[in-house]
């Protein structure tokens, strides 16, 4: 599979999680995303790379409609999750976001206890019928977030009191707790030190077993380390998309090559 040529990127329908066709995004008069077509697979880590302002975060935020909260933002085109148009009038963004969890650049735990941080999502979605069930969900999520051993004795301590890396893993656990199908990560390691980064990257690799993970990153090494597929964005366009190994060793577009070798960006 790693050796598959990039041209054969039209993977089989069964494995496709997200499919985007002719997506355009405007911020007021600014054309931020230009005609992006991409297929994102299940159980795969897909990395979005590109220089600052290239639109990779904007596109990521289209996938769970977080851009809806920005008044001037306008999205056109067709984005499908499991074949369903997520911008359909009948789709409630709240339900979409329960299916498509998100982890942000800066760790942003709620100023509540560690337990409540994790339990918040399951509570508002009614995932637990009893306290015992909720406890179990919290424990599972914290285990998935690879932070259970560090916090199991102080679940009542405030989430904001953890270290930066622990906070980010707490946020990942919080996103996992609502049992999403896709995890969006917007530069999740940019505020972390190398040790915490390594822990989070290891975690991302484990999460791949259950989720489709999409990660925006500035670090090409990180993209190379954690992802199976890579998309290179430049000035709002999706320049190149394919197997990570292929993109980094044998890019087809010269802009990709320039970026990877450090000439632009």
């Amino acid at each position: 599979m790693y050796d598959a040529p990039t041209l054969e990127r039209d993977v089989t329908e069964a494995k496709t999680k997200f499919s985007a066709r002719n997506v355009q995004v405007w911020y007021g008069d600014t054309h931020a995303i230009k005609d992006v077509n991409v297929e994102i697979e299940d159980n795969t880590v897909t990395a979005f790379i590109g220089p600052s302002g290239c639109g990779k975060s904007t596109f990521l935020r289209c996938l769970n409609r977080m851009n809806d909260t920005i008044d001037v933002c306008r999205v056109e085109g067709d984005i499908r999750l499991d074949g369903e148009d997520i911008y359909d009038k009948k789709v409630d963004p709240v339900q979409l976001r329960a299916k498509v969890g998100m982890v942000f650049q800066k760790p942003n735990p709620f100023p509540k206890s560690i337990y409540d941080n994790i339990a918040y999502g399951p509570r508002i979605h009614g995932l637990a019928r009893s306290k015992a069930e909720l406890d179990e969900i919290v424990e599972n999520a914290l285990r998935r977030g690879a932070i259970w051993d560090e916090v199991k004795d102080r679940l009542d301590a405030p989430g904001t009191g953890l270290s930066g890396g622990q906070q980010q893993r707490l946020c990942i656990a919080r996103a996992v707790a609502t049992q999403p199908e896709v995890l969006l990560m917007d530069e999740p390691c940019s505020a972390l030190d190398p040790i915490a980064t390594a822990q989070v990257e290891e975690l991302i690799d484990e999460l791949r077993a259950n989720f489709s993970v999409i990660i925006v990153t500035h670090s090409m090494q990180q993209a190379a380390r954690v992802s199976q597929k890579t998309a290179f964005f430049h000035l709002g366009e999706l320049v190149e998309f394919g197997e990570t190994g292929h993109i980094f060793t044998n890019p087809e577009d010269e802009r990709t090559e320039s970026y990877i070798t450090g000439r632009i960006g």
């Binding site: 909260t69 008044d71 339900q95 969890g101 942003n108 709620f110 100023p111 918040y120």
Partner: protein, 448 residues
Amino acid sequence: MTDASLPEPRHARSLKDVDARTNRRNRAEARFRAYGIAAVSIGLVFLVVLLGAILINGVGAFQQTFVNVPVYLDPAKLDKNGERNIEDIKKVSTFGYNPLVENALLETVQASGADTELDSAAEMKKLLSASAAAQIRDTVIANPELIGQTVEFRLLAASRVDGYLKGRVKREDVTRDKNIDVAHLDLTDKLHDAGVITKGFNLAFITGADASESRPEQAGLGVSMLGSFFMMLVVLGLSLPIGVAASIYLEEFAPQNRFTDLIEVNISNLAAVPSIVFGILGLAAFIQFAHLPQSAPLVGGLTLTLMTLPTIVISTRASLKSVPPSIRDAALGVGASKMQAVFHHVLPMAMPGILTGTIIGLAQALGETAPLLLIGMVGYIATNAPDGLASGFLDPNSAMPAQIFEWAKRADPAYYERAWGGIIILLVFLMTMNIIAIILRRRFERRW
């Protein structure tokens, strides 16, 4: 060889030589610090002068002169039937008590051994407040079993006597005073030495009602304090929910367009509208149009609500704005609806700011006088303390600042002292509210 064309590097000079530019900069900084210290000192001096003046002028209001007289409650005069029927006792007016007071005072003066030029008990009675008889009557009606006994009373002294002992009234002032003569002052001195006239803490000033122009010694701030209290209940009950709801909607839900911009600008403008304008609006809307009762704390509260709303809206919006957007993202990211994000996460974090703004708005409303002038909450409102919620909201009453204004207007200098004393009480309330605001902010503040 290019070295020669380059300017001499700066580090070639010793660090110990201070150049002219650095000197200038340092001097400018020193000057600026001096300006700042001067400004702060001037402010402090004014504050000290202000607080000092308030204390010096107002502290006298918390002291009152009393005449200690044993009064024989003669059953022949107070209860002619001898049945101790409360209705019969109530039929005796204060005029019926005057002879008792006069006799008691005369006997006390004689017993103290003070000699006086005053020839009659009626003349001596000028040492007492006009309310003395009423004071005894109130006691008798409350405890009819006292009739027939001799009871030690602590009667209010007349305001001139009170002023004389406090140094407000001088001997040379009373020569043209028809209320009191120098002979009265002589007697006052003697009775003071004998311990008949004493000074004590003036609880009635804090709990009592306003009194008529001629009886400043009886006037108290208590009833208008209750008026202020009921107004604040109305203000809090209306402006907090309305203000917070409006701010949440405007800040978190409303679309950004011309209409909401207009509302935003107008709320800021409303905060700057003179309070008297709100007063006349209250008069027109609540009294003339809605026919709510005049002088009622309910109307005062509604009017002050109009005035307080912009303050609360502005401070609430500011504290909502200061909640980091990452918290909203986090909540939306786990699938919370907008409202859940606001009510579960944003609002609790904005709470200290909202509470602080609300308390400051309330403190402003508490000290506001101008709107009350227009809805009739100023003037001599001779009411007793309200005896329930309905009468508290609807019976005519005054408010603390309006009462102070009213006292300051009156001619008798004794009222001037009361006005300053009232200001002390008002300031104590305002400081308490500000301290509560600070404590709440500290208590709810979360560290990041």
